[in-house]
Amino acid sequence: MRIRAQAAGDKTTVRVLMSHEMETGLRKDPAGKTIPAWFIQEVTAQLNGKPVLTAEWGPSVSKNPFLQFIVKGAKAGDKIAVTWRDNRGETRTDEATVS
């Protein structure tokens, strides 16, 4: 995951690029077999360990998802952690420092 968090005054813009197939479950492979759905269902973010964002996603979010949100009250040096969990139960967390 690539995370960039930039503070401007008391608002911090966080941009996240995740690496994920986001397979809808509606596509078929060349043999005509349906490719099973595989997508991120939940995205959460923490500021210095405190939860600040919860989002739920469906399979229509694009492959390798991009997310931008704005956190209030963060300052340079604070830690922003972003976690996703997909419909297979796999999760990934990455952290960035607010600049």
Binding site: K11, M22, T24, L26, R27, Q41, E42, T44, L47, K50, P51, V52, L53, T54, A55, E56, W57, G58, P59, S60, V61, S62, K63, P65, F66, L67, Q68, F69, I70, V71, K72, G73
Partner: protein, 124 residues
């Protein structure tokens, strides 16, 4: 954490989605903003955003009316984040894209914009 709202993400129409969320009929509002391009050359990657200038939103949703399931993403609004979120979605065909704000007082407000897709995003 709350359970994943499967019924909401499987809703085929906006009316079914509102039923799944236990929400009322959405009303168009100038205080909700949807950001989306006029034309999307690649339906697999369409940048879309939802925001509201109103205090008291508890959830913001991004919908693509003509996708197989209308709901793309739902964002919880709390005191730690601005009610403004941007992501990218897949669109199978030209469609209205909606930003819907679920307000704490039960109101359901929306803004919509038509996006023309020249290459669909479902065939891969």
């Amino acid at each position: 954490l709350a359970a994943y709202p499967t019924a909401a993400f499987e809703a085929k129409t906006i009316a079914d989605l509102m039923k799944a969320l236990g929400a009322g009929a959405p009303v168009e509002s100038k205080d909700v903003t949807v950001t989306a391009p006029d034309i999307a050359e690649n339906g697999a990657v369409v940048p879309v955003g939802a925001s509201t200038s109103l205090p008291g939103a508890k959830r913001l949703l991004l919908l693509v009316e003509k996708n197989p399931s209308v709901l793309s993403a739902a964002f919880d609004v709390n005191e730690f984040v601005e009610p403004s979120f941007t992501t990218r979605v897949k669109m199978g065909q030209s469609s209205n894209v909606l930003a819907v704000a679920l307000m704490a007082d039960g109101r359901v407000l929306y803004a919509q914009k038509e996006v023309k897709v020249t290459l669909g995003g479902c065939g891969g």
